[in-house]
């Protein structure tokens, strides 16, 4: 049966609405690729060669890879360790940690970087950047791995122990490989985030391809150099996205969310209980406490405190009016590719599903300029509408929505829809009436996550938002740009506070917090 199932599924006809629904995001994502290619070729072949084989390109490559590899590794290690401690041990206050451990997600990396660099200049270095960004991004690994651990068949661990493997060996040889797809997906997000990170790195004096792209656009006009650097970023994303795809295929569907009949007794940490607990407290203090304390500090010492307070409400309104509809658009666009790749597996559907990840490493600046270019040349009526900004949001954040949706879509068997079809529903109606209600939790999680990301998005919002619309993120940028740290502080704090809500919701959705012993 297991062999026959995929064959049968492929033989089934793919509904046309699903194909169209997948085509739209694929075309969107192709826009920046097209733009980068066109602009790169304007440099000519010799131009390309001389740009690629410069010493600086090599330096940037080393920096970019060092940062991305170290942060991804550290975030994967912290995220997995935290997930295991929260899900599988008698850690004190487990229930609370389940949410608290994901809360650093609410602190935008540029806020954390600003806090740490103003605390001590030593953090303005590669090592500092790795430290700060690892702390800021580990929840992207923690959340999916915790969800995978929670739903993993406990018998696997029993069998491994009975075959003579201790806890550690069991963890590394049985638990970890099976959490692999979840871990891989999380790590891929962190990796591509690092490729595209700008705000934090510009504060921390680390030069990567993305900071170089920004610099190129600062230093020159209609830049082929920036396009070439962006092309390199895309090339860097390719092997990562491919590797993650292989991992997912090899291990197959992680059994996420199914819940096991028998709850495992938590592992006793014994004398490690207190040290582990203190580790959690420490990471919480470092990732959340320090940034917030610095914001408070600036608020008390800066003369610009209170400036722009009348902008607070419009900024909150601006943030919400872009982030909420934006989240709906992005999640709606992400649905089809995930559905297609889960229900109608094949090389094409897999490619359509993975394409957005390749562009995920591009900074918002390139995506925004690409959309300006394409809409000015081909869709002029569309330019400077909210729609174009939504398109930018979709290009930037589709992969996150896809990851959040995937788990819940995998749980809804195609049979349900077949039953609805047999009861006389047309394909789309069957989908709406049967599948959608069952994946609502996943949709909720995806909406929360995307709203969170959109609220902190800066570059494409600056370039593409309707004129006159300010958001919390753009206000923070404006005030810090003018050196008005105290004026920036309340906006930054609000950004963290408003972000905490979707983080809480997303955490609940993805791993649940009620049903812990």
């Amino acid at each position: 049966m297991s062999l026959a199932a995929p064959l049968l599924r492929q033989a089934q006809r793919t509904p046309s609405w699903l194909l169209i629904g997948t085509l739209v995001p694929s075309v969107l994502v192709a826009v920046p690729l097209f733009y980068v290619a066109v602009r790169s070729f304007e440099a000519g072949l010799t131009g390309i060669a001389s740009e690629i084989f410069r010493e600086r390109t090599f330096d940037l490559l080393v920096n970019t890879l060092t940062l991305a590899a170290c942060v991804t590794t550290a975030a994967a290690a912290i995220g997995t360790a935290f997930a295991w401690c929260v899900e599988r041990t008698d850690l004190p206050m487990r229930r609370a940690w389940r949410v608290l451990a994901s809360l650093p997600l609410a602190v935008p990396a540029f806020v954390a970087s600003f806090a740490w660099s103003s605390f001590h200049a030593g953090f303005e270095s590669m090592a500092g950047a790795i430290f700060i960004l690892s702390l800021a991004s580990y929840p992207l690994v923690y959340l999916p791995v915790a969800a995978a651990l929670r739903s993993m068949e406990p018998a696997f661990e029993d069998v491994s122990r009975s075959l003579g493997k201790g806890r550690w060996e069991t963890f590394f040889r049985v638990i970890l490989p099976q959490a692999g797809p979840a871990l891989g997906a999380g790590a891929l997000l962190v990796l591509t985030h690092m490729f595209a990170e700008f705000g934090a790195l510009s504060l921390l004096r680390v030069q990567t391809f993305t900071t170089a792209i920004f610099a190129s656009y600062e230093l020159q006009f209609d830049s082929a150099t920036a396009a070439l650097q962006a092309a390199v970023l895309v090339l860097l994303c390719l092997p990562a996205a491919y590797g993650e795809m292989r991992l997912r295929r090899k291990i197959g569907v992680a059994r996420v969310g199914r819940g096991s009949a028998r709850r495992m007794a938590p592992v006793r940490l014994g004398r490690w209980r207190l040290p582990v607990f203190l580790c959690f407290c420490l990471s919480f203090a470092l990732s959340l406490g320090v940034p917030l304390l610095i914001l408070v500090y600036w608020l008390t010492v800066g003369f610009s405190a209170g400036r722009g307070h009348s902008d607070i409400l419009p900024a909150i309104g601006g943030s919400l009016s872009l982030a909420v509809p934006g989240a709906f658009v992005v999640v709606l666009l992400a649905l089809s590719p995930v559905l297609l790749s889960v229900r109608h597996e094949g090389p094409l559907s897999r490619a359509a599903d993975r394409l957005p990840y390749i562009v995920h490493g591009l900074p918002g600046l390139v995506v925004a300029l690409a959309l300006v270019f394409v809409s000015i040349h081909y869709l002029r009526a569309f330019y400077q509408t909210v729609g174009l900004l939504m398109a930018a949001y979709a290009i930037l954040f589709l992969p996150q929505a896809q990851s959040a949706l995937r788990a819940s879509i995998e749980l809804v068997p195609a049979r349900l829809e077949e039953a609805a079809r047999s009861l006389g529903r047309r394909p789309l109606a069957a989908f709406m009436s049967v599948t959608v209600p069952n994946i609502l939790p996943g949709i909720g999680a995806a909406l929360a996550l995307i709203a969170l990301e959109l609220m902190r998005e800066l570059t494409s919002t600056l370039m593409l938002a309707p004129i006159g619309v300010a958001t919390l993120a753009t206000e923070v940028w404006t005030h810090t740009n003018d050196g008005e740290y105290a004026a920036a502080a309340p906006f930054a704090a609000l950004l963290v506070a408003v972000s905490a809500l979707p983080v809480y919701f997303f955490t609940r959705r993805s791993i649940g917090i009620e049903d812990i012993q």
Binding site: R54, R56, S117, S118, A121, E124, S202, L203, R205, Q207, T211, A212, F214, A215, S216, Y217, E218, L219, Q220, F221, D222, S223, V301, G302, F303, S304, R307, S321, V324, P325, F328, A368, L369, V372, F373, I376, R380, Y383, Q384, T385, V386, G387, M390, L440, P441, I443, G444, L447, T459, L462, M463, P466, I467, G468, T478, N481, D482, G483, E484, Y485
Partner: protein, 343 residues
Amino acid sequence: MSEIVRRRFLQGGAAVGAAFLFPAPFVRSAGAEDVRTLILYNGQHRQTTDAVVQAFAEATGILIAARNGSSAQLANQMIEEGDASPADVFYAEESSPIAALSERGLLAKLDDGILRQVPARYAAKDGSWISVSARCRVVAYNKSMISESDMPASVLDFASDAWKDKVAIVPTSGAFQQQIVAVEQLHGRDKALAWLKGLKENGRVYNTNNAAMQAVEDGDIATALINNYYWFSVAREIGTENMRSALHYIGHRDAGALVTVSAAAVLKSGRKQALAQQFVAYMMSEEGQKVIAASMAEYPLRRGIKSPYALKPFEELDPPDIAPDDLGDGSAALALEREAGLA
């Protein structure tokens, strides 16, 4: 929360979201179609722009909607937009992004009446843009790490080994680029390149001027090559009496004393030419210049207006004889920076 309640909540959320979403693609920039509203692409520090925009609205009743961003990014955006740009006026923090637009023929000629408000060297030769305010390249130094008497005579000296890890530079800043152009024009290409190579070797690279200034103030590094107003914005934030850093003006026509400007221009593609000219005229008027001068520590360029800040008098700066328009769009500097490995 029960599953049913949760579902309801989600469904409700979906409905609300859909309601938000539905009109979204049809919403254009607020008021952009209004004939009485000017569209300003603003790369200048926002406190300044906000002040002058507000004063203009009070004086004329004309509303201005601004897209904020970094000057260079906005210039790149306008270049992509071409003649479809919705922008009427561009107010740039530095002159090079505006020069880039001028080179591409995207700017309209300003009225002669406007151009006459400043000395000729502060207007573009073709009349396509005008300098609004000026500032000076300076050396910010930490008073407890170095004394002013140890400052070199020329900015070129910072490239020497003696200054290893003692000087902060911001290669991505437009003003630094303009300084490179000034060095090249004063001393020739070879010397400029050697200077940059020395700075790459001995200087410490910061990504923003604010960060470099803050580093000097915090004692992380002894000196920084920046514009004078960055010191004043820190001073305004924490109080002048608390400042641990000070400014050194190099003077005697050295490239280190270069005067650079913020600038404004009217877009050729704008549909509200008269209003746009009116706004730039206001920026250069006595009233407008006073507002701008009050909002930040720069030298107003209209004759007879004084900055309320304790700036070194403009006449004493003794800058090199290089007009803003001579600095161009900075592409010459970029080639040098790339060769030196700074970009």
